[in-house]
């Protein structure tokens, strides 16, 4: 996993980023660059430091420590198949983010802390 260390440090220091966290399960060079730089260079789109965390193929969703997502808005970009996406969604949901969403090919998975349970699945 790359990019979570600065976010952990921020949270341990008692501050939150004013933007959603992008958790990317993929290994594109662009994603890795974002994960390495997000805390140094603000997004050109909105001027905010937008956390990007890249999950490597070697990272097992069941063992992933994603506690940094707690009470934050999280967008999961799952690029390694539906089965792994479900496992990652479940792992992030377990730490109770404020909002979690993941867009798959023909449906969007959506969870909010208030709704609890399995969240809402919106079919496209």
């Amino acid at each position: 996993m790359i990019g979570h260390t600065p976010l952990l440090k921020m949270r341990r220091d008692g501050v939150l980023p004013y933007d959603v966290v992008h958790v990317i399960d993929g290994d594109s060079e662009f994603a890795i660059e974002l994960a390495q730089q997000w805390h140094r260079i603000p997004s050109s789109a909105n001027g905010l430091f937008t956390p990007h965390v890249v999950v490597g193929q070697e990272d097992s969703p069941e063992r992933l420590d994603v506690r940094f997502c707690r009470q934050l808005g999280v967008v999961l970009e799952a690029n390694r198949g539906q089965e792994r996406a479900q496992r990652l969604f479940k792992a992030i949901r377990a730490v109770e983010p404020a909002i979690l969403c993941c867009a798959m090919t023909d449906e969007i998975w959506f969870y909010t802390k208030e709704q609890g349970g399995n969240g809402k699945r919106i079919h496209a």
Partner: protein, 323 residues
């Protein structure tokens, strides 16, 4: 728009502390699932190798790892790591060296000698124009060859750990360096008995290596051995035991002084010279590899290279001008 941060409404440190056990004590099935994932999608991690063919299946340098190179003073740690750095450059890696014990020009003088396989102080090069022309041509080739492959951090003496970490991060992010050599740990952490400082520094380096997918080579000294004949292991490293606990690989460099003594006393037979190496690389820990053991190397004086067997030619990266 200004960068905006908001205060965290939970005590995150307390939350982490409370849920630590819950996060880390997991059913065995989660690891078994990982094994299943690996069978489905085998991960072919990028690896870099040592310069010697015989070591390719034994030791690998993987991204995200830290290798600790240990050894006594004068046992050849910097020579070996210099040769390893050249080999890494030859494999297409981008290497940076921060030596706080040697000036960059001295480091490059040694590496240039290893790269060209010749001794520039050899009488054949002295006092004649042809010799000088060959030397200049060699070093011009070396200069061009190092472009976009090799960087050096110009700082001698003691530095702070924060400075070193910042330099490693800069090299990884801005220069896209894939291997960083820090020579040595004791120049970065003030006080040999600052065990917490050493632990925190190595912890930070492991985090940088992991976050930036680079390999960090950290050079370290060993405690004064009772005898120079003692072959060091990971328990002989100076300072905190947490250093070897945290790094991924531990390699000790041991110079075979008993053999040198025998040679000086005229007691070294040809057979023993062939059989007994001049130097051992003792791999005492390899977290993500299966092999641990010793690698024997022989020293080739002119090139200052270590070679895989007695009498073997040094690896020459220099191409003589045939015109």
């Amino acid at each position: 728009m200004a960068n905006v941060f908001t205060p965290d409404d939970i005590d995150f440190a307390a939350y982490e502390h409370e849920t630590d056990a819950q996060q880390k004590v997991l059913p065995a099935s989660s690891w078994v699932q990982e094994l299943i994932d690996r069978i489905r999608n085998p991960i072919r991690a990028k690896q870099a190798f040592m310069p010697w063919r015989k070591t390719a299946q034994l030791v690998q340098f993987r991204p995200g790892e830290v290798t600790l190179w240990g050894g006594a003073n004068g046992n050849g740690k910097s020579l070996v790591t210099g040769q390893v750095a050249l080999s890494l450059c030859g494999q297409g890696e981008r290497v940076a060296i921060a030596s706080f014990e040697m000036k960059p020009i001295k480091t490059l003088e040694r590496m240039g000698r290893q790269w060209s396989g010749t001794n520039p102080a050899h009488p054949a090069y002295a006092g004649n124009d042809d010799g000088q022309r060959i030397l200049i041509d060699t070093y011009e080739q070396f200069r061009d060859w190092t472009d976009n492959k090799l960087w050096l951090y110009d700082q001698q003496g003691t530095v702070t750990t924060a400075q070193v970490c910042a330099v490693v991060r800069y090299a990884a992010v801005e220069l896209k360096v894939t291997h960083f050599v820090v020579d040595s740990l004791m120049k970065c952490v003030q006080g040999e008995d600052d065990y917490n400082g050493q632990k925190l520094f190595v912890d930070e380096l492991t985090a940088i290596a992991r976050d930036h997918c680079i390999h960090i080579h950290l050079i370290h000294h060993i405690k004064k051995p009772a005898s120079e004949d003692h072959k060091p292991n990971k328990y002989d490293m100076k300072g905190s035991g947490a250093i070897t606990d945290q790094v991924d690989n531990v390699i000790a460099v041991w110079r075979n002084k008993p053999k040198e003594r025998k040679r000086d006393e005229g007691l070294l037979t040809d057979e023993a010279d062939v059989k007994e190496p001049d130097c051992l690389l003792i791999c005492d820990k390899q977290r993500n590899g299966e092999w641990e053991g010793s690698i024997g190397l022989w020293f080739e004086r002119d090139s200052q290279q270590f070679v895989a067997s007695h009498g073997e030619e040094p690896l020459v990266l220099y191409t003589p001008d045939m015109q």
